[in-house]
Amino acid sequence: MGNFDLLMQGFGVAITPMHLLLMVAGVLMGLVVGVLPGLGAPNGVSLLIPLTFSLDPTSAIILLSSMYWGALFGGSTTSILFNIPGEPSSVATTFDGYPMARSGESTRALTLAFMSAGIGALTGVIVITLLAGWASNFALRFGAPEYFAVYFLAFAAFIGMGSAAPMKTMVALTTGLLLSTVGMDTITGSVRLTFGYSELLSGISFLVVVIGLFGIGELLSTVQEGLRFRGVASKIDLRDVLKTIGELPRYWATSLRSALIGIWMGITPGGPTAASFMSYGIARSASRKGKAFGTGRPEGIIAPETADHSAGSCAMLPMLALGVPSSATAAVMMGGLMIWGLTPGPMLFATKPDFVWGLIASMYVSNLIGVVLVLATVPMFAALLRIPFAIIGPMIVAICFVGAYTVSNSTFDLWLVLLFGMVGYLFSKLDYPIAPLVLAMVLGHKAENAFHQSMVLSDGSLAIFFANPLVSAIMVVGIALLVVPKLLAFGSRFRRRIPVE
């Protein structure tokens, strides 16, 4: 009830020349770190933190969060243009964004991505505005079993609806799970699968693997196809951008569903990356042209982008209201809050309304600024694809290696990029799906931790996953997503066979 007044007050705080300037600066810097793979939002934001000590907390959080939005926007750019995800959460965007760009429609792909991103972010903010109090109480109901159920749901949504051969999916999935167990385990404190290499102690970075699998792997395939990185000669002008915006309303159902998935994953701290995968999986099975996914369907771009951004903005809520960061960037910003002398927690809304509502209001404004700025860059980025392969190819290699190195400043990671580049090439030649591997790497470790914690709590009884209505409901939906499509397929094959016999 009072939320609306508070929001208006927040706009009063957020819309000052100084703050608008900070938003533009933040979004632009975010775009730069987002576009460069490996640098990413968490690194960018932590580089800025010391600079914010001389700002007041509201200005500081506006700067940092604007940078976050900018990075989220920027992350999709390289996914679409070069098949190299700039951010973990934009991996799913490559599946259809890259094929669309390769077929000469890079302007359309980028515009679709940025517009859906903006729509997702705004939906997320509206939800925060309306449900701030309720949503944070809801998040308190999530213990270890509920967390596991959420991860299980994300797995089920993506895998259950996959179209690749089940055995190949299993191989990719288990490889991903295996990779995610490398390093020191949180629950037991023991070191696993490092084979004595101390570089592996901290695990294999998901981003390094993704840069190898997608960036280098794709490059190798291109080289084999005969060095044609088709310098796409499509006309590039702003009218294409407007035309694409015009086709968006047609996909309202996909947008809406994806935004809801994003909100759900943002509030239950599943995170943006899981949200984008889940949303892509569900969009693929919901679409009647399901088989054509992966060849440049617009829905395949809209779904992950919308979910990614609505989850990204909703993830601010658990951070402010509970002090749980649901993404790496949120963790860095929370550190900032503490240094500025603010305590994230339920009382923040009561004790610092100017700060909280100033931030929420700034999320509306800076996301709008972000959409306008990135749309303006579309022709420029789209033009990159006109550059002949002989020039852009080596540049991509350089970007991949620099990006992988920035993840944790380790030269060992460069070897991993090469290795996973080979793996990515083999996967695509042999028709193994890469997505399940990536998903397993993102969620595998978290799911394993949550499962292990649940087992400690319940003394080893699986009944804990059906111990209350919340967790049982999520588990049942997950199992249904896994089983029902298979049953349907089986059923229809059965029915088709009857007339033949």
């Binding site: 308190l140 999530f142 213990g143 949180t186 509970l322 927690g345 923040l348």
Partner: protein, 330 residues
């Protein structure tokens, strides 16, 4: 008189150090290697020092912060080992630097690290849900004794400071708890507020928000005397109103986590003197005092012999706990 004494001391210190100091100063950007991910307590510690150094003009060189939090922080200490003798790297950690090699096979040992200073002590408290049936720490322990394994402790990581403390409580009181490790203090805090665990031993800073809102309350603090006076936080109670654990019948006089700064072994002794002096200046600044107040930590400045002694004591008592729990790896 105190001023005079300090001035005299400082003067002699400078006189003694002057010829040496003149010879060493950083010649390129300094790397701050943080043994935790971005956003954690150790990260804030390093970044506050970074900001203070530059703002107060203590060091003019630029400072780059690198997060190497993998393997509970082992990544940062391994990095120190690989950069032996590099005087442009400082490593920021807690007691994990010297405790990790005891519980897991590590490629580095204390031979590879040279302690520079400890600048703060973080306190540990027992927190329970606001509506929990226990009024005092003694009640809580009794409840755990009455039904062994029924009381759940959440904590950050495994075989790390939190689990060590919980084991220490078990060994001291004879109670038996169930310990569930989570990924960090913030996550544990929410698990308690949501009622998924019964207690945790978070630092003041990690628990402040939930206490303010009245979701959780402290039972006792593991420090030799009560914490500093503060404004009331919830229900008219502030940090100073929390009894020490010893007062409330849990016989652990002190359990605190030092915030420490290290250098790779084999670096120039003069460089170490340079950083010790710079860090001492930080510890005496107003900005540092403000950071300590905001995060409810206790300020100290330990270096040289004092620091080695502190480390030895802290290590010995922790290793006793490890041995009793059967965690020691060597």
């Amino acid at each position: 008189m105190t001023y005079l004494k300090t001035a005299l001391l400082a003067a002699t210190a400078i006189a003694a150090a002057a010829p040496a100091m003149a010879e060493w100063a950083p010649s390129r950007p300094i790397e701050f290697v943080v043994a935790s991910g971005a956003g954690g307590g150790t990260d804030n510690f390093a970044r506050t020092i970074q900001a203070t150094l530059n703002r107060e003009g203590i060091i003019d060189n630029s400072v780059v912060v690198l997060n190497k939090g993998g393997g509970s922080g082992a990544e940062a200490f391994l990095y120190a080992m690989q950069n032996e003798g590099d005087a442009h790297k400082l490593i920021f950690g807690t007691n994990n630097a010297y405790l990790l090699p005891h519980v897991a096979q590590m490629a580095y040992s204390m031979e590879n690290l040279d302690p520079v200073a400890a600048l703060a002590l973080d306190e540990f408290l027992i927190w329970v849900k606001a509506d929990a049936p226990y009024e005092t720490a003694a009640d809580f322990i009794e409840a755990a004794k009455a039904e062994p394994g029924s009381v759940t402790f959440g904590g950050s990581q495994s075989k790390d400071t939190d689990e060590t403390l919980v084991s220490l409580i078990e060994q001291t009181t004879g109670a038996e708890f169930k310990y569930v490790p989570f990924n960090g203090g913030g996550e544990v805090g929410v698990q308690l507020a949501g009622g998924h665990v019964d207690a945790h031993v978070n630092n003041p800073n990690e628990a402040l928000g939930q206490w303010q809102s009245g979701a959780i309350r402290p039972l006792c603090v593991f420090s030799p005397e009560r914490m500093a006076e503060s404004d009331p936080i919830h229900d008219g109670k502030g940090w100073h109103d929390i009894p020490t654990c010893q007062e409330s019948g849990v016989d652990i006089a002190s359990y605190r986590m030092p915030r420490t700064v290290w250098m790779p072994a084999g670096a120039d002794a003069e460089a170490k003197a340079f950083y010790t002096k710079a860090l001492r200046n930080v510890a005496e600044s107003d900005a540092w005092q403000e950071y300590l107040n905001k995060t409810s930590q206790t300020g100290v400045f330990l270096s040289g012999e004092e620091l080695s002694q502190f480390i030895t004591e802290n290590e010995t008592s922790a290793v006793e706990v490890f041995a009793a729990e059967g965690w020691t790896s060597q």
